[in-house]
Structure formats: structure tokens, C-alpha cells
Symmetry: D2
Amino acid sequence: MSSTLGASFRVTTYGESHGGAVGVICDGIPACVPVDLEQIQCQLSRRRPGQSRFTTPRQEQDLLQVSSGLEDGHTLGTPVHLWVANKDSNPKEYESMKALYRPSHADFTTLHKYRTRPKSGGGRASARETVARVAAGAFAEQILRHFIPDLSIVAFVDQLGSVAMSADFDCHTLSREQVDQNPLRYPDLNHYESAAGLLSRVKDAGDSLGGAICCIIQGIPVGLGEPVFSKLEADLARAMLSIPACRGFEIGSGFSSITMLGSQHNDLFEQKTGGRIGTRTNYSGGVQGGISNGEPIKFRTAFKPVSTIGLPQQTLNTAAERVEYSPQNGRHDPCVVPRAVPIVESMAAVVLLDHFLRHRGQNSLDPMGGSQV
Amino acid sequence: MSSTLGASFRVTTYGESHGGAVGVICDGIPACVPVDLEQIQCQLSRRRPGQSRFTTPRQEQDLLQVSSGLEDGHTLGTPVHLWVANKDSNPKEYESMKALYRPSHADFTTLHKYRTRPKSGGGRASARETVARVAAGAFAEQILRHFIPDLSIVAFVDQLGSVAMSADFDCHTLSREQVDQNPLRYPDLNHYESAAGLLSRVKDAGDSLGGAICCIIQGIPVGLGEPVFSKLEADLARAMLSIPACRGFEIGSGFSSITMLGSQHNDLFEQKTGGRIGTRTNYSGGVQGGISNGEPIKFRTAFKPVSTIGLPQQTLNTAAERVEYSPQNGRHDPCVVPRAVPIVESMAAVVLLDHFLRHRGQNSLDPMGGSQV
Amino acid sequence: MSSTLGASFRVTTYGESHGGAVGVICDGIPACVPVDLEQIQCQLSRRRPGQSRFTTPRQEQDLLQVSSGLEDGHTLGTPVHLWVANKDSNPKEYESMKALYRPSHADFTTLHKYRTRPKSGGGRASARETVARVAAGAFAEQILRHFIPDLSIVAFVDQLGSVAMSADFDCHTLSREQVDQNPLRYPDLNHYESAAGLLSRVKDAGDSLGGAICCIIQGIPVGLGEPVFSKLEADLARAMLSIPACRGFEIGSGFSSITMLGSQHNDLFEQKTGGRIGTRTNYSGGVQGGISNGEPIKFRTAFKPVSTIGLPQQTLNTAAERVEYSPQNGRHDPCVVPRAVPIVESMAAVVLLDHFLRHRGQNSLDPMGGSQV
Amino acid sequence: MSSTLGASFRVTTYGESHGGAVGVICDGIPACVPVDLEQIQCQLSRRRPGQSRFTTPRQEQDLLQVSSGLEDGHTLGTPVHLWVANKDSNPKEYESMKALYRPSHADFTTLHKYRTRPKSGGGRASARETVARVAAGAFAEQILRHFIPDLSIVAFVDQLGSVAMSADFDCHTLSREQVDQNPLRYPDLNHYESAAGLLSRVKDAGDSLGGAICCIIQGIPVGLGEPVFSKLEADLARAMLSIPACRGFEIGSGFSSITMLGSQHNDLFEQKTGGRIGTRTNYSGGVQGGISNGEPIKFRTAFKPVSTIGLPQQTLNTAAERVEYSPQNGRHDPCVVPRAVPIVESMAAVVLLDHFLRHRGQNSLDPMGGSQV
């Protein structure tokens, strides 16, 4: 449903861009798991506006608050409510756009679906909504890592406009620290200057630019995901396409598989060091038949250029009259992908924890589910 | 959940590749809607194997049967059970592959997730499972068309291996009849011979090939889809990635938006003939903020080359020993996309009907929901 | 939702009283569990009409059929479709009642909710719908017993009209065989003749009678059920009240707790033989704070007198004219409770298996969920 | 699931008894509906502790706070987060009980299910959790009344220990104001002194007492509720049994139907003033075949005596040693039913709004769901 995601691990979010707060209830949580709120704050800060010249100057500290579900730093098994206050909202800035449809925003569709829309800004369609996703995802990741200590979820920008990473860049060893070494979260330093230069020019021109994010997940055991409608890649695709501005998703070979032959594309099974059964190649992206196969899960997402640009644009007002629209405050990102990196990681973590718990419920070898009595 | 899709309109499927039947229960159906079973049979026949030299020779008539929910050709509002018997299943043919992991199939992951797998073939991971999807989708489409008479859902192959359609080919006026004019469902006749020649060579070589399917949906009113986790494109992406062999999804401009500027990509609002508010371009693919905007919904999906090929391949058996595997019967499609066309249409119809009913429930202007008393 | 019950173990049913079949898809099933179809058939036969002079003479063999999910007598982890054909349906018998509202039936509400209703009988409101519940429940019970070998679910009639069981009758040692020793499934033989005589007189008078069913479940470990909205007794109550003609549910002390003092009612903890912590009394009915506490789960349900009676009754036809209604065929039970006994057991089994799997998912001590790799 | 209730209108709650706050996210809300927060505060105040000598002296103002979903006093169609801070929590008071199992509390089951429990009190099993239910219910009631202006939901205490209301007391005309005329919410003034005297004696003795609450809902149109698993009475039963201390539920004639004949119990259809089709009697309690029939919906719930009593009791500590337990602070209600009245009304409102929206979604006569374009 609209504001809830997940079957066994469920997150339910709330909050308009310029309301009092944005928050999330996480439910279905295993008990007795240690949770470090600093790690959640850290991911929130990676998403936070105002990090660099490439992000919107809106000032939000995004300080994490917790109302329930934790005691002495451990989960109780009860719902955890995580939230962040909106501080720098300024509904007045949105006066000028109240009565018109900003191009490629949700103003038009929201007004026609609900017969109303927030006067105070983008409402649920604002990127501010993603605060709740990151809080939930950073929380989910810790729960999952408690059970899978080797878990690694690392997303990064692999293309910015036309500046793509080198085909031979090894992204399987990247850490988040390496990704964060530059404000674009674009780890291929051979092309970084080119990307940064391009984005600077776009920004100076009052325009915006698209980009792509790749995500690599390592440590997931064989068995997560369910056949038919809850294939792991299907739930990942849904989670990614639900991120504002995301326009595409591909797993493993993705769209490049269109031009491949089966004899090239098939991942041959072989024994790996230590006896593990793995595949020689990983065109499957770590998922076969909708179920994780123990290889790194690798997917890629496309983000369109941000709809808010500084340039004047023709549009209609709510009386269907032609008007010219220029945003007044300039509070927007020239490209969404640097800040979207932790959002992608977070949505992946939410999906994976859900499937981890679903798998245990159906297929656990612990018959009594841990009960001691 | 695994075998159920949808919130207000829900489909729940069952059936292994070589069990007795495959079927689906559709629930949450508006009553008093006329249903023509011939139209469902027609879509099933478009999916059916054995249609041409480009499809598997497995012989299944796939005759639709109905056990409930209809009376005098109209829905009762109760669950509709649609099913098709498996006739040409031959579990013995699968003897040779029982004890090994076919490359890029679900054999390995299924066995390790469930500690068992069907001896008789691909089980739920087989393309045979999609019979139930098509039955449900063709049914959903009729329900939806009852409320939206102008509805049109047309999918087609827009790329086969490296043979893509011309960029200027107009696909918005295509009908299913036009799509079906050739066995590849590849409507750009300027490149058809090239595509057919390529696929013939691939088939003759015992190999398989990837392809892409584009789907265009017209007539959907403004307002379907929900912000945040059930954006229309998110639910479409999930539905598509849940189809066997689907590796990617993009809505509107999709992956090509990565290289675009906001000033190019933004769809400017304008008044259309008749006063309707529309957009000049449709890079959004008919969805803005996760909600349909009245423009054609356009998405594209990537399908990998079929995993079953005629060529011998190295793999491991379940004892982790290296073996060579060659399928015995040659029953496979050299490319999945011609038969996947009705599957893509069906999954789209299921998602759209669900969102149509969800939208009515939340936002109807008919307060009593139709009650007469 | 209407035709689906459960979160981790899910059953979805279909079938009108006089359609082609009634059936159920069970999903979320642990794999590798042996299933004995005879045991399911046995419960279906306990529900079957025509068992004695106290039940409707409709003739249905109710032979169980299975289309999926089992191989070599074991679950595959995939959906299991169980169904039974309708053989003795005779829609013509219902001609006389087509255009009127039978008193206390669902004719009136169904017609006004859906603007149509099955011409052929009670549709989904018919007791025939419960065939699917019993198939699903008998299946669920086997799965659950695989993990909890000591499980015992025994329901029985504890009141028939005004003839209640003795207060000191020990019902905790009853087996289904003992319950089935008489056609009323009324195990207190001291009052059996009185109950049977009463029901005979009611039947001969063309009337019907209410009754009550008690259910005792033994062997459930501590920990099933979830706080707040999915308390075990809440989900049991929903499941029971969803059975046609069920009008009330009470857990443990139930309605009699109204007149009790806390000092009487509190179940004091003590050590039992073998060191198990248990309670001295069991007014809680085996559930505390919505979670099973290891004591027998005991609940009781009230069933109203069957609405179909042989006596003529005043009612309205669909033109709102006053008419007199007498059923033509006399196919009804004078009291529903003997045949409802396996239905109550079945619904309990469905709820318990669901909660068992949910508990494992959230609280398993087996981190990897059974994955071997 | 545990902390979420509803399909189309969904409430998700959080909050331990002695955590920072208790709150709820309501989702699936129709837009443009006026909401008066005072009315929600009013119901919260009816639930609030410290109202009279019959309720716990814990001091909580329970001031309602809203973080999202409303603008200018109207719903936006987005999730509404309602919450209340915990002010008078005093975890230290619970020191004495930390290491033991209070009789008939959830201490034992919570600890064994989750292998931990809140040190600070009852956690989610505390009655404090019901704050979120009342906030959600009072909100839901306003939404529902917007569409059904004649809606009336009135609950009241109809039995306190052995002091039942007169059988001929007319409870169909009661308003909440009348119910609130005495602190017991026991409207039959002929027996009020007797009930109050009994409860005073119980309280003075350090004991507690059970009671019953009846709820009458008027104005619901024909058509709410779904056949099979989501019968209206089934969902009401689940909602009621999910309230702490609730032990039983009956709809209409309920348990008294056990001793009735069909010829007595059947509600005969007849035309009412104004042409409405109704029933002469209402043993069905306003629901037939699981669907509302336009008559008043009437149900009754049983509440056990409060588990916390002032008297010393034998129990075990977590080391399984016998100990005597007496609560230190005396903060408990001698009987839960007066404060449970608004909780029962609230849970009913949540269920009814959900079914109202579900019915509209499936059966609306407004094809486009309100879309203007």
C-alpha cells in the first residue's frame, strides 16, 4: 500500500515536505538486536541537503529521534518509530507556485487525484519524504548485519550525464568511505573531473542533469526471494522505482542482455575456493529464478534530471491559463544522484531484511522459532 | 507475497510446470461486469507454445476453464477461478537434468532455498507459470475496459538482439492485430527480415537471444497510482521484473534520461484539443509523482536470452561434480519475447485494475459506494 | 481481504454453492513436509452432508483433488491447490426463491452490495463454501504437526439448544474419535439422549436450533501470537466469526469473567512436573497478552439456529411485495453445530500455522533460515 | 500484522507504556475531509486515566499532536500521524516487578517470545497502547461521518460484575453525553447505585472486577462487509478481541442464540416507513451473511477483571523461584470497562471506515473514482 512497504519487515512512513516532521514506523523486528543510532544518523547525514555546492542549500540538521521499540540500545521486538523534525521549511516560498503546475512535478497529478494539494510545497512528492526511507533502511541494515555479519551494501554514482565510469573499473571492492571521497559519490577518479565540470556548468546554467546509481550487495546467502510475484529483483525494482525521479532499474546484465546470446549469458556453475558453489560469471546479478544465489547482487538505477530548474518555463496555472514559471528560491539540486546514493542503499536494505525474515519464517530449520519453553 | 499480487484486485496463482494444472484466483472484482471468455482464450493462445518455428514445440491447447465467480457471462463480485490443464507435460524428459544445476536456471537456488525441488521440471520457475498471469490479466483487462471503454494496452517487440526498431517508428497507433502480423511480434517491417534472419541463425546454432518489449497504454485517466511506495511505475516495475527472464524496466525516457538536461526533459503543460490539460512531450511516460497524468503510459522491458540452449555446457551436479549438460528434447524458445508480449500486457492490466479500484476506494465521489438502500 | 486469510501462511478460496467447484490455494508452505491426503479427506468427510438424519440430505462425496504443490507426498514449498467438485447442485431447486429475500439469509445484503446475486443458490454465503476451509485447515494441521508432534486440536458440541454439558465434564482428554461416537458430536453421554431428543423434535417440527462448539488445542508452545492487533485470540475470533452462522466467540473464561474478581481470575504461575512453568488455573484460555503461554488454548463459539427452516415465513420479494416463503426441498440441517466441528478445528489450524510461521520469521534462533550454503 | 490493522484504511501504531510517546499513522484517507482535532482530543480524554475514583491515578494529559496529513483543517489524502507524549511514566516504579511474572499479565509470554521485555513496565501489553487506538478511531469516525452524516457509534457499560442492565432498558437512543453522565458509563440508572457500590467495595478490597460493554452503531448503509473471511462481524470481533482484557465478543443475539429456534430467531423482512426494507426483529445485529443490512449494528464484548490487583499473590520470578508479588504504587483501575468504552467505539470506527472504503473501491457506481479529467 501507498505508505507501507514489506510483508514480514514493514515500514510505514508519513510526512509532507513542509509539515512538522517526517517519520517511519518499522515493525516485525527481531528482538535483542543491538542498534547504534549513530549509524542511522550517519546515513541521514549522507542524504542531508546542504552537503556541498552540488546540493540544495536548504538547511536541515535531520537529527534522528526515536520514540519507541528500543531499550538499552537493543530492539524489544516492538515497533520502532524514527523521525526527524522539519526545521527549514518555509511554506511562504511556495506562494508563487501554489496556483500553477510545475513541469514534470506531481502538482498536476496530485491535485487531480485528491482534489487538493499541500499549499506548502511538494507534500509527499518532495524528496524530503526520503528521510524516512533512509532512517528505515539504515535501521534495517543493522538488523540484517546482526544476522549476516559479512553483509555489505554499497551504492555509488556510475554515470553523470554522459560521463560514465570506465567499463573496467572494479566496483566490487568499494566501501562507502571510498564512495564519499568526493561530493558526487562518483568513485572513478579518472573521470571525476569531467563529471564535476559538467555538473558545474549545468548548475551555473540553471539547469539539471540525470545520472545513474549502481548498487552492489555482498554477503547475502543463497535463498532470499520468492518465486513468481516476489522475486528478489521484482521487489528491488519496485523499491527503486518508488524513489522520486527514478526512471529505470536493471539487474545483472539488465538491458545489455538484449543483445547477448544464451551461450554467452549463462552463468556456469563451478566450485569456488572453500567448496562453495558459485558461478563463473555473474550476468544474473546474484539472483536466479527470483532467489539469491550467493553471488554479489548487482543492480543499476536511472535517475532523470531534477524537475526543478532555474530557467523560466512555460506551463499552465490551475485555471488552465498559460503562464511562465521560474522558481524563486533556487533551492534544488542540479543532480539528484549524489544524495540518492544512501536512499538506494536504504531501500535495498528494507527489501533484503523483509525477504530474510520471510525466508526464515517459511524455511527455518529451527522448528520452535526460538521459543525456550 | 510470493503467489499473490495486488491490494484491491488480487490474483493468486498456483501450478508447477508438470503438475496437473496451472490456475489463478482473481478476487476483489466489481460485480455485474460482462466477461467474454473468448477474449481470455485469445490472449492465452497468443502466449501458447507451438505457434511458430520461433517457439517451443511443446503442445498445449491451454483451454481455459472457469470454476466460479461468473453467471450468465457476468461477474458476481466473488472470486473467479481460471485454470488450464497441463497436457503435454512429460516429467520423464527431465530425468537427465534431475541431479544437476542447469546454468542460469532456478535449479540451484530452488534446491537450496527449499531443500527440495520438483523432479518433474522447472516447477514454479518454468515459463508455464505465466499461463495463470495471462488468464488473470486478460480477465482484468476486460473489467477495466468496462469502466474505461477507450482503454488500449498494446505491447510489442521493439528489439531483438541488436536489431532495434527505427527511432521514428510510430508505435502509438499499433493494434494487437498489427503486432501479430508476424510471428516475432516485431512491428517495424523495415527491420523485420533482419530480425527474423538473426533469430533463425541463432536457433539453428542451438543458441538463444535476448530482446526487448515496449508497452503503450492509452486511455488511463489522471489519478491512478499512489505516492511513495505504490507509485504506478513502481508497481509496474515489480510486475514486469516478476516475469521470468525479465532483467530490466524503464518508464518513459528511462535510462536515456541519464544523459538529458532538465530543460529538455521537463514535459511542459499545455491545453490539448477539447480543453484537456496535457503535456507537449511525454518523457514522463504518462506518470508524474507516481500518478498517471492522462498521457500514454509507456514502458520498456529487457529480456535476457533464454537459459535453455541446445549447446552443451559445463556445470555441476548436486554432488558438486563437474558434468556436461545438454538438454535432450530441444523444447525451448530461441527467444522469449514474442510469447512474452501478452504476458507483459497481462501484468500491466493486473496492476492497472488494482490501482483503479484502490483509487475509487479512496477518492470516489460516490459516497455510498453504489449502495441503493 | 475477503477471500484470503493469513499473513505468512495464506489461504485463498473460491466457489459458489452451485458452481463447478469449491477450492483453495494454500501458500507460504514450508517445504519437505509429508502430507497424507487421506487425513484431509477424513476431515472433509466429517463436514460432508448426508452423514446422519441430523444433516441435510444433499449428496456430495466431496472427493479431494490436488493440482499442485505436492510431489511424492511431500510439500514443494509452492502453492497447494486443493479442490472438490460440486456434484449434487441443482440450481433449479432454487427457482422458487430467486426473486425473494429468505429471512436471515444473505440474499438481501448480497443483492444490495453487488447489485446481483447467484440465481443458483446461496453463492459464497452457502455453507458449501466451508469445504475449502476444511481442506485448508486439515492441510495446515498436518504441516503444524510436523513441527509440533504433540499438537492436538479437538472441537466438540458442548451445548445444543438448552442442553449444556455438565460443568464437571472433563473435555481435555477427548479425542476426535470420541467426539465422533455420536452423530451430534456431543460427548457428554449423560445428556446425549436429551440433546438428540430435542433436536429430533425440532427437526420434525420443521424448525432449527442453535448450539455451541468448544475447541481445545494442546501442545502449542509459548510464543505464538503478536501483541496489539494480531493477538492470538483476536485472530481466532476473526476466523470463527467468519464461519457462517457463528454469532459469538469467547476465550478462556470468556463472558463468565464478567462476574469474576481479579483475585479469582488471575492464573498463578507455578512450576509443573518436569520444570515447565505453567499456571495453576487456566482462565486465560492459554493466551496472555495475545501470546500463547503453553497451557491448553480453549475457546468457545456460539452458532445461531439455521436460517433455512421448513415452516412458512413472511418476507418480501425483490419488488418489495409481501410474500410467503417455504423452501421446496427440505435440504437443510436442523442444527449446524455437528458439521461445524471440523470447520472450527480447521479455522483454528489455519490461524495457528500462520502464527507459527510468523513467529519463526521474527524470532527464529536459526539465523540463516535453514540455508545450507 | 501485529501493529497494523485494515486493508484500505490502515492504522499502524507504536509506543511502549513508558517510552517517549505512543502514536499512530493513519493511511488510505480520503482527501478534502474536514477534521476537528477537538473531537479526537475529546475521545482521548474519555479514555484518559485519572478521570474519577474508579480509574488509575496515573496523570497523563494525553494532549494530541499531529505531524502530517492535515492542512487548514482538512485531510490531504496523505498519512496522518497522531501522537501523544508519555509524561507520567515512571520506570522506577516497576523495579520491583522486573524480575518476576505478574499473574495473568503478558510478562511471561513476552519474555519467552522475544527473549527480552521492557524493563520499564508493560510495554505494548499495557493499556497505554490504546491511546493510539482511540486517536485513530476518533479520526476514522470523523472521516466516516463526513460520508454518512447520520452515523452514530455509542458504546456503554451494560454489566459490571453481576449487576446487569434491565432487559427492557432501551439503549438505541443513548448518546455519548448520556453515557458519560456517571463515571461508570453505566446508563441504567436504576441499577447504577448497585454497580457503583459493588465497584467501590471491590476497589477498597484491593481487588478488581470484570464487566461488559455493548456497542450500537446506527446509520450504516446496506453493503459493508465482505463474504467469507472479512465478514463485518469477523473483523469487528478481531478488533475487539485485540483490546487488552477483552475475552469475548457476540453480535446480535450472540450466545443467547444457542437456545433459540430458527422460527424465533429469523428476522423477517418488511417495509419500514419511507419504503426502506428492514427487518421486524434484529437478532442478526445488523449483519447478514457478513454484510451490513441497514439495521443497527449491535455487539457486546466481555472484559475480564484487571490483572493488577492490590492483594499479594503467589507467582514465580524469572529464576523460577516462588515469590510473593504486591504492586507498589496502586496505579490501576479496579475495572477496565468505563475507560474501555471509547476504545470499543474507536476500534469499531476503524473497522467500519476500512470496510466503507473497500466497498467503494469494489462496488462504486462512480466509474472514474472522482477524477475530474
